[in-house]
């Protein structure tokens, strides 16, 4: 009965997190995964999600599923920590779960995959099973590569054979490289993204990484987990931790904070003295975690694409939506018709034009301006 009550309570928590994330509408990266737009991540998860993209409720169903997976991962934490309830609570109220569970992003799924990997290691799962899971993780998101040190150590500690390291670590990685070669726009997109924030100083990057490390474990777990992995000399965790730090210092996307989370949990479990401290720190961490939620409320503002959706539904099926200015994939997700970049010669076939940049001087004589829209929008009557 107690177990059922906990299950029910966790699911309610997951529903709440999914609901909060849904308030802001679909974001550009989320739209990519929901519609299987192939850049930059490999296809394992986005392909599966796109099978259901005709469903009206697709977005909220996926949010609930992702949030439930993140929240119910606490059972793995409890299992690994020999039923240390406090550590499970640290997982549930950490910034990583609070801010990312319920988003349709691959970063929390990667974090979850790493947690499963750690759990498989603790259960001495057969190496081929670990290999299958590692291959699945790599083909879900490129950032899974950051956790290669964990897999490497799991294989090496078990067999101490170079052939097994090649079979279970190098070959899956090689296949990911092969996949990348077959999708040339992926390396091109990586080169474009690598130019982001090139002007940032080393200290800016350090502070940004420190901020995400603090958010990922809501400070308390961040400190305990990092201390724990160093104290226990858990080289797999330490190696991956350094990779994640380096990756975040270069990319600086907030949603990567969650990548720290399984490593921090692993660090606490690896060091028994840190495990004892978790009992005292849960309340402090919960407070810190919910303070981060204050930051999160700014993300809840509805996207302009979601606000424009009621007007877009009036467009005839054979017409298209033209957008002037840089736009995200959320427009493709919300629009019932084809979306193209604005070109003067395409206006005759357009059912609507959205001006994210100024449309001053454009000839919209056949279109009517929508006055009560949050973005400048013209519709064919």
């Amino acid at each position: 009965m107690k177990r059922i009550s906990i299950l029910f309570g966790l699911e309610l928590y997951a529903l709440l997190l999914a609901f909060l994330q849904s308030l802001g509408g679909v974001r550009t990266d989320e739209a990519k995964y929901l519609m299987d737009i192939p850049y930059p991540h490999p296809p394992a998860i986005r392909w599966f999600l796109s099978l259901f993209d005709a469903w009206t409720m697709q977005e909220i169903v996926v949010r609930v599923v992702f949030a439930s997976l993140m929240v119910h991962a606490v059972w793995l934490v409890w299992d690994m920590s020999k039923q240390n309830k406090a550590l499970g609570m640290l997982w549930l109220v950490s910034g990583g779960v609070l801010l990312q569970a319920g988003t349709v992003m691959i970063a929390p799924i990667t974090a979850l995959q790493v947690l499963v990997l750690l759990w498989m290691g603790s259960k001495k799962s057969p190496l081929p099973l670990i290999g299958i899971w590692w291959l699945f993780s790599l083909f879900s998101a490129y950032q899974a590569v950051l956790f290669l040190p964990i897999v490497l150590l799991l294989v090496w500690q078990r067999r101490k054979s170079i052939a097994d390291v090649v079979l279970y670590c190098a070959i899956p990685f090689g296949l990911l490289c092969l996949y990348t070669v077959t999708n040339p726009l992926i390396p091109a997109s990586m080169v474009i993204h690598s130019g982001r924030d090139l002007g940032s100083s080393v200290s800016d990057r350090f502070i940004a990484t420190l901020r995400l490390w603090a958010i990922g474990g809501s400070i308390v777990l961040s400190v305990l987990g990092t201390f724990g992995m160093i104290r226990a000399k858990a080289f797999g965790l330490i190696g991956s931790f350094l990779f994640v730090c380096g990756y975040i210092a270069l990319s600086r996307y907030d949603y990567y904070a969650v990548l720290f989370l399984p490593l921090l949990i692993g660090g606490v479990i690896a060091s028994p003295s840190c495990m004892k401290l978790t009992r005292m720190s849960t309340v402090v961490l919960a407070i810190v975690g919910f303070i981060f939620v204050g930051d999160f409320t700014s993300m809840l503002a509805s996207s302009s694409a979601r606000e424009a959706k009621p007007f877009l539904s009036a467009i005839a099926e054979d017409q298209m939506l033209l957008i002037s200015g840089s736009f995200g994939h959320q427009w493709q997700y919300e629009s019932p018709v084809s979306v193209r970049r604005y070109r003067e010669d395409l206006v005759v076939t357009a059912g609507a034009v959205v001006c994210l940049d100024s449309c001053e001087g454009f000839d919209f004589s056949e279109l009517v301006k929508i006055e009560d829209s949050s973005v400048e929008m013209w519709i064919r009557e």
Partner: protein
């Protein structure tokens, strides 16, 4: 059983990817083809107002590129493929 499943999975991925990599080999071994394809993609995307991520290169020869335009939207995605001289 796990070992056989793992090897089978690796083999499936190889069988799926190698033919496609072979079709695109010129992109990586011929700098001239690579630069022409890059220009071509940008021109096609610009001319039609297409989002670049909706375009994919299917195969290449030294004279022709086969591109596919997949319009990502809710439900079935319309796909059209065409050959273009480099």
């Amino acid at each position: 059983m796990y070992f056989k499943s793992y090897i089978a999975l690796l083999a499936i991925v190889v069988v799926l990817l190698v033919p496609r990599a072979w079709d695109l080999r010129l992109l990586y071994i011929d700098a001239d083809v690579r630069s022409k394809v890059e220009v071509l993609l940008r021109e096609e995307s610009e001319r039609n107002g297409w989002v670049l991520s909706d375009l994919s290169i299917v195969s290449l020869t030294t004279t022709t590129a086969r591109l596919c335009y997949r319009e990502h939207r809710r439900g079935e995605d319309p796909i059209s493929c065409f050959d273009i001289e480099l």
